[in-house]
């Protein structure tokens, strides 16, 4: 585990029991997030990404494995420690804009709310709330209530609320799910700015592939495990054009398990069994010898 890692999930398992039926939401998930990173977790519905967010957010506890955030082992914390953790270590932004804020409080009062919990003086609360609201571009709308704000403005206030106690990590669960493309882009831009200026680590959960393109690293979760990891780098070509280089990696877990990308599996008609061959600098994956010979005679993957 690298020293710079802020979030580490090691073989994380979460099992729910619903009506006498056990559902394994996380099946030994591994994850490492570096401090100051702005990354995304993507996955289809039911893949387990929200379960992971609940565990990392201190709202739920893992059934097995280990989850450590900023040095806090989430499996070992009691209720009181989790409360302190939620209060001081992390911040949350939820999908539905209206649910991120208390409707009977103004934007300023909503931002001051987490600071009240840490016992900040009224003066400090006031100053920090003003600064945060100005940073999110709502300096003029501090006394508006949520119902008087647009969806994008509400999410901006929600980001300010999440950052009120200067957390080390900001978790955002589908933060732009209810916003139009332009507003969503603005909200992402705001998060990127906060990541850059405040140095806060941001983990965004989404099932939208386009959203994931906004971040430098995207981890895909499938069937309760991390399946692929996509890295994006901005590069400048010889003629001075800016472009993004995207590389997708399969994730190898601690015991050597690997999830092949679905597209690859389907393209080669891989089923049930494959043959592996260790080459000098890579591993070849071949379809089943007999079936592959029957199919095309050449089974190189």
């Amino acid at each position: 585990m690298p020293d710079s890692a802020l979030i580490v999930c090691d073989n994380l398992v979460k099992i729910y029991k619903i009506a006498n039926l056990e559902v394994v939401a996380l099946q030994g998930l591994d994850l490492v997030v570096e401090r100051g990173e702005f990354m995304a977790l993507v996955g289809a519905s039911g893949s387990g990404k929200s379960t992971l967010m609940n565990i990392l957010g201190g709202l739920d506890t893992p059934s097995a494995g280990r989850a450590v955030v900023a040095g806090h082992d989430l499996g070992d914390m009691d209720s009181r420690e989790r409360t302190i953790y939620r209060r001081q270590v992390i911040g949350f932004v939820w999908q539905q804009a209206a649910r991120n804020l208390l409707p009977y409080l103004t934007a300023r009062q909503n931002v001051e709310l987490p600071m009240l919990l840490t016992g900040l003086s009224p003066g400090e609360r006031n100053a920090r709330a003003t600064r945060l609201l100005e940073q999110v571009g709502l300096g003029e709308r501090q006394d508006a209530r949520p119902v008087q704000l647009s969806g994008g403005e509400q999410q901006r206030v929600a980001i300010a609320v999440a950052l009120a106690n200067q957390p080390e990590v900001l978790f955002a669960d589908e933060p732009t799910g209810e916003l139009d493309t332009t507003t969503a882009h603005e909200v992402f831009e705001l998060m990127r700015t906060m990541n850059r200026e405040l140095g806060v680590t941001i983990v965004v959960v989404t099932h939208d592939a386009l959203v994931s393109e906004q971040v430098s690293r995207t981890i895909a979760i499938r069937d309760g495990r991390t399946s692929t990891e996509t890295l994006r780098q901005r590069a400048v070509s010889d003629d001075g054009d800016h472009h993004v280089i995207t590389e997708e990696y399969a994730v190898l877990d601690r015991v050597g398990r690997l999830q092949l990308p679905r597209a690859h599996v389907e393209a080669l008609g891989l089923e049930r069994r494959v043959r592996l061959a260790l080459e000098e600098d890579h591993i070849s994956v071949w379809p089943d010898r007999e079936r592959g010979a029957d199919a095309n005679g050449d089974g190189s993957a």
Partner: protein, 940 residues
């Protein structure tokens, strides 16, 4: 097919909302049951009350008596058989409703009065009387019961007619009679004595015989030498038994006047002697008594019975006999029934007020569940509207469903009420229908906003109410104005109004006042809460800030909670005032009746001085006094006047009555020491308190004036020091004089003014030893009255008890509905509250802070609703109480409003407890959702 499909759809929909639907059905059915069973229970109380009223009434009032002055043939079967047949003829005229309640019939036959001169005590006016059942009601002490000697009396003749009774050689006749031992002692006669008698010419019966009948009017009769032989002496088994019907003629003697001490007595003769006496040809008085059995009367027959008795084809009079040969009906039954009807109507009016509280709170509870049901189906209703269903269609569907649910539930409640053993009442069906109608309207009312709502508003469901529609403000303002007008009208109509039964104004004003107060509280409630929130924001504590801001901004559920709580508090306080006033009135009345905890009266000549009450454990103080029910009041110059004299030891009585409603606060002159000489003379008059009413012809005496009375055979001069309306413990004499006993004791050293009354202050436990002491010292000649018994009788009288228990029950039912409403209101807001709390928990709010928030969200509402509610309830109670006529339940003219602060504090504590439990239950229901589920958005 279409109907079946619709029914199937409806059932499927109800199936998905099973919990809420079942809750609604149970609530409506329970409410319907409560209101349908109430009239049946009231009928039961009314039946008990009429039994109690009739049983408490004097027999002469309750029963019917038909009197006749005539000479009825004895009949062929001898004895009084012919007279009995005449009685049967009279009874045959009675309508079935009256015959049904008569349990027995007795006969009295009284012969023309005789006069006996030759006795030791002077003249005796002598009535001969036969009365059914005497042998059963008495025991023979000496001799035997009289028998007929078989010798008819010769006809009586007129004096001066030249005729000789019994012919030229009249044979004397003897009639065997029996006396009571008391009569015999008073007359000085013994067993075996013969009393020679002549016809008493002063008998009004003879004087009233019309001319031409039995020899003409105003005649005198002469009879053969007649004597009455005393062959038996008897004494009553129970002199207070109903058999005597308040007529002690066969037990005691009566004195005419003090100046002319002639005695009147009735002696018993056997029925078989009637033909012998009848043969003398003189008239008789007959009286047929028809005994009404209270247990055979029920309140449902009341009107029929009253009308039938009024419509009897008999001359109705107050004197025993009107004119010769004309039957006269005497009864107080109509008056008793009229008084009962008025009391019942008054009880109905008061109890219908008691029903208002639970009804309003029940409506709120049903309303809360109705809103819950509609919220549950909110999305489906909006989908239906979005796909083209009109408002009318949506409301029409809801109407049918509401009728099915509420109507069915109400019918179940109504039918269940029918299982309660009590007389049915048509009001039950009306009230059950009213409950169903209210529930239907509430269900429709809850659907109305959704059915009328702009479909585009769907996403704004959580927006707190910040503004109130002008139309609503106008409606609310109108209600407040009408309520104020109602209060003003009620006050102007006069608190002395003797309204009976259900009075629209009396019923409407409390409801409107409660609604108006609720509206005012609802509108002004956020102001102090916001102020407190602003102050709390100066501090570093999250809970008060957030809690108060939440309360100030959340309308719907909080308003329902607030208004219902305020109305319940008002009702509880109102009920407390009414019940406390009644109970205080009963307490005061018990002191007025007895004058102390115990009163011992001497019923015969003698003294109570030997009774040592103060040495008895539990007795705190005792005061002797002397009473004369007919003292000569000499300030009326033209005629003889009697007043009630109450000679009381002021200092001792003050010790007995101090701190109680009987505390008289004597004038200072009463407490002064009497002078050593010249007492009761014009120079040293005895201080006296005079009643407001004085004997006819009295001069108008004011403080400082003097008057004279005969006390201890001495003319005593009194000086008026005060005029009072009543004095505790002396009943209700028309006129009374109260004077200090220590003064009167010495007005005549030769005539001892013995103590004839003793007032005692003591605990209930002192009753038995006190009775033993009285029995030991003055056995058989005294009567003890315990205030505790009087109070118990007042409190257990059916209508009074029904009002007390009715209000108690109404408070209990209202508090149950309040709890349901509070839980309903919390469940209504649970989605919002759960989400808010979950969100706050993600921000780091601890579980303790979450509980604190819940408390902070409700505590201001509880305080701001209960305190004005209590004030409102007290105000309305004090305003209306004098109009309710509670005095009629305790035999008093008025019962002033009374607030029992201790009881009210207890009730308020119970109310707060109920709300607290309901809040805990509602919060628990709201917090069952998992934190992650409450925040769950998007997919896993």
């Amino acid at each position: 097919m279409g109907s079946l499909w619709a029914a199937g759809m409806l059932l499927r929909r109800l199936g998905t909302e099973a919990t809420t639907v079942v809750l609604l059905v149970v609530l409506v059915a329970a409410t319907s049951f409560v209101f349908a069973v109430a009239p049946r229970l009231f009928n039961r109380v009314a039946d008990e009350a009429i039994h109690h009223t009739l049983a408490s009434a004097a027999p002469a009032q309750r029963n019917l008596s038909v009197g006749l002055a005539a000479a009825l043939d004895p009949g062929e079967e001898g004895g009084v058989s012919g007279v009995r047949r005449a009685g049967e003829d009279v009874a045959s005229k009675f309508p079935p409703s009256l015959r049904r309640v008569i349990s027995a019939e007795t006969l009295r036959v009284t012969a023309t009065r005789f006069f006996v001169r030759d006795t030791a005590v002077g003249g005796i006016h002598f009535s001969l009387r036969y009365q059914d059942g005497l042998a059963d009601a008495t025991r023979l002490v000496a001799g035997r019961w009289p028998r007929d000697n078989g010798k008819p009396w010769p006809p009586a003749v007129r004096p001066g007619s030249g005729e000789q009774p019994g012919g030229k050689h009249p044979q004397p006749v003897t009639l065997e009679i029996a006396f009571s031992t008391i009569q015999a002692d008073a007359l000085g006669v013994k067993l075996g004595d013969r009393l020679p008698a002549i016809v008493d010419g002063s008998d009004p019966l003879i004087a009233g015989v019309p001319a031409g009948t039995l020899g003409g009017g105003g005649v005198r009769y002469q009879i053969v030498p007649t004597s009455f032989k005393v062959v038996g002496l008897y004494e009553p088994i129970d002199p207070d038994a109903e058999y005597w019907a308040g007529d002690a003629s066969l037990l005691q003697i009566q004195l005419a006047t003090l100046a002319q001490p002639e005695q009147y007595v009735a002696a018993y003769f056997p029925a078989e002697s009637y033909p012998s006496i009848f043969s003398a040809g003189m008239p008789f008085r007959y009286e047929w008594r028809f005994v009404v059995d209270p247990q055979r009367v029920d309140a449902g027959q009341l009107d029929q019975l009253r009308n039938d008795v009024r419509g009897l084809d008999l001359f109705t009079g107050t004197s025993e006999f009107a004119s010769f040969g004309v039957p006269v009906l005497r009864t107080g039954l109509v008056g008793v029934l009229d008084a009962f009807a008025a009391e019942r109507a008054r009880s109905e009016g008061i109890l219908s007020m008691a029903a208002i509280g639970p009804f309003v709170v029940a409506a709120a509870a049903v309303g809360a569940v109705a809103i819950l049901l509609v919220l549950r189906r909110r999305s489906s209703l909006l989908i239906a509207r979005g796909r083209g269903a009109s408002t009318r269609l949506v409301l029409g569907t809801e109407l049918w469903e509401a009728v099915m649910l509420a109507g069915g539930a109400s019918l179940i409640g109504f039918l269940a009420a029918g299982l309660v053993p009590a007389r049915a009442s048509p009001t039950s069906a009306l009230l059950a229908f009213g409950v169903a109608l209210t529930a239907v309207l509430l269900l429709l009312g809850a659907t109305w906003p959704l059915a009328r709502r702009n479909l585009g508003q769907g996403a704004r469901e959580d927006a707190p109410i910040l503004r109130v529609a002008p139309r609503r403000l106008v409606i609310e303002g109108t209600i407040v104005l009408i309520a104020v007008g109602g209060v003003v009208l009620l006050r102007q109509r006069g608190l002395s109004s003797q309204a009976a039964g259900s009075d629209a104004l009396l019923l409407g004003v409390p409801v409107l006042s409660g609604l108006a107060a609720g509206i005012v509280a609802m509108r002004f409630f956020p102001i102090p809460v916001r102020l407190l929130g602003w102050l709390a924001a100066r501090r570093r504590d999250l809970v008060p800030v957030l809690g108060l801001r939440s309360v100030a901004r959340h309308g719907a559920a909080a308003n329902l909670f607030l208004v219902v709580l305020l109305l319940t508090a008002a009702f509880v306080a109102f009920a407390s005032v009414i019940v406390a006033s009644l109970e205080q009135g009963q307490l005061v009345a018990s002191y007025q009746v007895v004058g102390a905890d115990y009163r011992i009266e001497q019923t015969a000549t003698g003294s109570l001085a030997a009774v040592d009450a103060t040495s008895i454990p539990g007795v705190e103080a005792a005061a002797f006094g002397h009473v004369e029910s007919g003292a000569d009041f000499m300030s009326v110059p033209t005629q003889r006047a009697r007043v009630y004299l109450d000679a009381v030891d002021p200092a001792a009585y003050t010790a007995v009555a101090a701190g109680t409603p009987a505390d008289p606060h004597w004038p200072s002159a009463f407490l002064a020491d009497p002078p050593s000489a010249g007492l009761g003379t014009p120079d040293h008059p005895v201080p006296a308190i005079l009643s407001w009413s004085l004997p006819t012809g009295s001069a108008d005496l004011g403080p400082g004036d003097t008057f004279q009375m005969v006390v201890a055979n001495t003319a005593v001069t009194f000086k008026v020091v005060a005029r009072w309306g009543q004095v505790p413990g002396i009943g209700s004499p028309a006129a009374f004089v109260v004077a200090p006993y220590p003064w009167l004791e010495h007005v005549n050293p030769d005539a001892t003014l013995y103590p004839s009354i003793l007032w005692v202050r003591g605990s209930p436990g002192a009753a038995a030893p006190l009775a033993a002491e009285v029995q030991k010292q003055v056995a058989g000649t005294s009567r003890t009255t315990a205030r505790y018994g009087v109070l118990d009788a007042l409190r257990t009288a059916p209508f009074g008890a029904a009002i007390t228990s009715g209000f108690g029950l109404a408070v209990l039912v209202a508090e149950i509905y309040l709890a349901l409403t509070v839980i309903g209101a919390l469940v209504l807001s649970s989605a919002r509250r759960t989400r808010d709390l979950a969100y706050l928990r993600t921000l780091g709010v601890t579980a303790g802070q979450a509980v604190g928030l819940t408390v902070m969200e409700h505590a201001p509402a509880v305080l701001l609703a209960i305190l004005p509610g209590i004030a409102l309830g007290i105000g309305v109670g004090v305003l209306l109480e004098p109009s309710l006529g509670l005095g009629s339940f305790i035999g008093s003219s008025d019962v002033p409003p009374f607030v029992d602060w201790a009881a009210l504090t207890g009730l308020t504590a119970i109310l707060v407890g109920v709300v607290a439990v309901a809040i805990v239950a509602g919060t628990w229901l709201s917090r069952r959702a998992r934190l992650t589920n409450a925040l769950r958005v998007g997919e896993d």
